[in-house]
């Protein structure tokens, strides 16, 4: 099982050229999954354009000094990252220097002329991400791959990317709790667009537990429409319970095609196969384990 190739095939089946991998937490295997896709795409002859929402790809996690997988790309790949994190050697071919500013300086587009490691610090805003992806395509990328943290996923809402949700074992105490959280998260990220023929309650801001209760009480069988999945401010069992009572839709949906898992977290591990199959069962999406080369 080559996970990268399988994910590319799923994206193609969903009529998506570009992909984004969004991770739930640190050590969710986000970068590992993105790397697998990048390798597979380059093997197929795609000119890949890579960027991230915010910072990613450092050898050591700058927030907690944990070891992180580095992003090693083959020559020909394009990257959109901050000038402040470009290594001077081996030299890259600089194609564009934008007026977008990231946490590590101005965003630039460059092509790798030799295989090498890169650190990604992309734009933090939705407009910035869209601009970076557009520029990558303009500079010759035939496929873009975005590595992004979940808290910035609003940047992808309404876009044409196929989204792979990377989930890990960190931050929860039991497998059951992890599966509940993942099922709720994937359901939230997969919320469909509104049906134009049905009357809907449109919310300007976030859908909180209190607002959800109010709506469920005042508008029976209501369809609630929020701007994008990040506007649903609930998680875990509470969110799953909400979806039982309310039909929630989003104006700017994401195109979630698959889930990837990392069963070994820094503070907790799950049995890889149990975790893989559990996630697949609960999310009803193709689920992959890059580490184990397995799918469910």
């Amino acid at each position: 099982m080559m996970v990268g190739e399988a994910l590319l095939a799923l994206a193609e089946r969903a009529a998506c050229v570009d992909l984004a991998v969004v991770g739930t937490a640190k050590n969710a295997g986000k970068t590992v999954t993105a790397k697998a896709i990048m390798q597979a795409a380059q093997l197929r002859g795609d000119v890949i354009g890579v960027t991230s929402i915010g910072r990613d790809g450092e050898a050591v996690d700058s927030s907690d000094n944990g070891r992180k997988p580095r992003l090693y790309l083959q020559r020909g790949a394009l990257v959109a990252t901050a000038l402040g994190v470009f290594s001077p050697s081996p030299a890259l071919e600089f194609l564009d220097i934008t007026d977008r500013v990231t946490a590590a300086g101005t965003l630039a587009i460059a092509r790798l002329r030799t295989d090498g490691f890169v650190e990604l610090v992309g734009p933090p805003t939705a407009a910035g991400i869209r601009d970076a992806l557009r520029r990558l395509h303009r500079c010759g990328a035939t496929r873009t791959i975005l590595d992004g943290a979940l808290d910035r996923v609003a940047a992808l809402a309404g876009g044409s990317e196929a989204v792979v949700v990377a989930v890990g074992a960190s931050g929860v105490s039991t497998l059951g709790e992890a599966l509940d959280d993942i099922a709720a998260l994937v359901a939230k990220l997969s919320l469909p667009p509104p049906d134009p023929d049905r009357v809907a309650v449109r919310l300007d801001g976030a859908l909180t537990a209190a607002r959800a209760m109010e709506i469920a009480r005042d508008h029976r069988d209501a369809v609630v429409v929020v701007r994008d999945p990040t506007q649903v401010a609930l998680s875990g069992k509470a969110l799953l319970g909400l979806f039982d009572r309310l039909d929630v839709r989003v104006e700017r949906p994401l195109r979630v095609i698959a889930v990837s898992i990392a069963s070994i977290g820094r503070d907790r591990t799950f049995a890889p196969r149990e975790f893989l199959h559990g996630v697949a069962r609960r999310t009803q999406l193709p689920t992959f384990d890059v580490y184990a080369g397995a799918a469910a």
Binding site: M1, M2, V3, G4, V32, K35, A36, Q39, P69, L83, F86, P88, S89, P90, A91, L92, E93, F94, L95, D96, I97, A108, R111, R113, T114, D115, S263, I264, T269, A271, P272, R273, D289, V290, Y291, A292, G293
Partner: protein, 538 residues
């Protein structure tokens, strides 16, 4: 545009200087710097102001919109390279991104020079051409830069050696990875760390793996390089270090060469900024049909067909007609007229035309004769007091008057819009008469717009008036304000005339109230009261 001492914030707000700044803004950072450095011409500098305005107006007849747009686009794409220049000038090794920016700046200057060649002096120089030729070797594609091996033979050799070393290592690593994958029954190993389930192992773990973690059901592993691969890895890293060293040497050498051209580059960028500023001014002139004014030594604001551009632009966007006005102002005169008759617009027209002329710019009029002033000031409606909301409207105006009188120099241009409208009319008149006398002693000219009667005569000064309603608009009272405005516009004669004294026989305010929908009975009673008072006076 440097306004300090010439136009304070409240006055700038009253004539909407922000609108003019926006309309005049150059396209590049260099042009914006030149724009911010613009100083107003003062009394005695008529010749320089006239030369500036004439040059812009002449260019506006020579450059067409297509060329101006092409220039603006080119200028807007000129990258900001101050950081790169600063880095190189202090002896730091330039980054490849610096070299790309320099290449693009040189490209932009060449394109700008081609576009402005017949009309004004170029920005490019021998220094920028030499700099461009130096970096050109690194051009990749149309717009990219790569520290190409053609810069240096040793760099070429180092890269060839690195490619060979990297291939050799990659081959060895792939051999190990393939062996492991084959042993595990996988096509490839996709991640640096990988999981092997115990129950899938029939022949045990392959030799070339290092176990990171062992669990009851699986192993977490990574590839383990053999001796030969480790030697090749070391060779690859050494080759990469040599590449890094050679690349730094090449960049250092390019940096040293660039330093010799920095003065010339700096001058060229300053010139680029001047061209950008000029193009923005020419564009403004064409867009708004401006003309170079005649500059005179006397204190005078005179124009035919003058327009206040922010309003003109707004009306044009709404498809509505704008009535141009003529003014010849050489003293501190009183301006009267009906509500919505254009008194404030007249003041803003004068102020904005004088403001543009002070910066040596063409002005929005059919013709104009303008003097230069030490300052332009605004008092009354439109100029908010800086003293906050604790004071009444009148007190706020008085405080602003106090501030203006304490800072306003001789030979200033001042516009007073309905000062003292909120206080006792008799005292308001007295105050205005005294203020006019004081400002005239300072050699100031301008307009005092007011509804208060008898000021011009009492101050012994010129009196201008908006002609006012030709007749009461025919349009019936309506809730449709656009229709009301249209009817009012048709009925109002906005022209300004010099008059001997105010004509108090009109009741334009009552007509306006009727037009805006006040109950007809109230309007009729108001007319009756007005006529009775008028008859009694007569």
């Amino acid at each position: 545009m440097k306004l300090t001492g010439f136009l304070d914030d409240a006055s700038a707000q009253a004539i909407d200087v922000a609108w003019f700044r926006n309309a005049l803004l150059p396209a590049s950072e260099y042009g914006r710097r030149a724009f911010e450095a613009m100083q107003p011409f003062g009394p005695g500098q008529q010749q320089a102001a006239a030369t500036s305005a004439r040059r812009i107006a002449d260019l506006a007849t020579q450059l067409d919109d297509e060329r101006i747009d092409a220039l603006r686009e080119c200028l807007a794409q000129t990258p900001e390279i101050s950081d790169s220049i600063a880095r190189i000038s202090v002896g730091r090794v330039p980054l490849d991104s610096d070299l790309l920016l320099l290449l693009r700046a040189c490209d932009a200057m060449s394109r700008v020079d081609i576009l402005v060649a017949p009309f004004c002096a170029p920005c490019g120089s021998d220094a920028t051409r030499a700099l461009s030729a130096l970096i050109e070797r690194g051009r990749s594609g149309r717009y990219g830069f790569y520290l190409d091996a053609t810069f240096d033979d040793r760099l070429r050799e180092a890269r060839i050696a690195y490619e060979a070393a990297a291939s050799a290592f990659e081959l060895a690593r792939s051999r190990i990875a393939s062996g492991v994958a084959q042993h595990l029954g996988r096509e490839r190993i996709e991640s640096d760390e990988f999981i092997v389930m115990r129950d899938t192992l029939t022949n045990g773990l392959p030799q070339s793996v290092h176990i990171i973690r062992e669990a009851p059901t699986y192993f977490l592993c990574e590839l383990e390089l053999d001796e030969a691969a480790i030697v090749l890895l070391a060779a690859r890293d050494a080759a990469l270090a040599t590449v890094a060293q050679e690349e730094t040497a090449v960049r250092d050498r390019i940096g040293a060469q660039i330093r010799a051209y920095l003065d010339g580059l700096d001058a060229a960028l300053t010139r680029l900024g001047e061209i950008d500023l000029l193009v923005a001014q020419v564009r403004f002139t064409r867009r708004f049909g401006c003309v170079a004014p005649d500059f005179c030594a006397e204190a005078n604001v005179a124009f035919v067909g003058g327009r206040y551009l922010p309003l003109h632009d707004e009306l044009r966007a709404q498809g509505r007609h704008y009535v141009k006005i003529d003014v010849d102002l050489d003293t501190l005169a009183v301006l009267t007229g009906p509500n919505m008759g254009g008194k404030s617009v007249c003041l803003r027209t004068c102020a904005s035309i004088a403001f543009l002329a002070a910066f040596g710019l063409p002005v929005p009029a059919d013709s104009a004769r303008i003097g230069l002033f030490t300052s332009i000031a605004w008092l009354g409606i439109g100029a908010e007091s800086a003293h906050g909301g604790l004071f009444s409207a009148f007190a706020g105006e008085v405080l602003r008057l106090r501030d203006l009188l304490s800072t306003m120099s001789e030979n200033g241009l001042i516009f007073i819009d309905e000062f003292a409208r909120t206080t006792n009319p008799a005292e308001g008149v007295a105050l205005l008469v005294a203020i006019i006398a004081s400002l005239r002693r300072r050699g100031c000219i301008g307009f005092v717009a007011t509804h208060l009667a008898g000021i011009a005569a009492a101050a012994d000064t010129a009196h201008f008036a908006v002609r006012g309603l030709r007749d009461v608009p025919k349009h019936a009272a309506s809730q449709d304000l656009a229709a009301v405005l249209s009817a009012l516009g048709d009925a109002m004669d906005y022209r300004i005339s010099r008059v001997a004294r105010a004509d108090a026989s009109h009741a334009d305010a009552i007509a306006l109230a009727g037009l805006l929908g006040i109950d007809a009975r109230i309007i009729n009673e108001a007319y009756a009261a007005f006529n009775a008072a008028h008859d009694e006076k007569a």
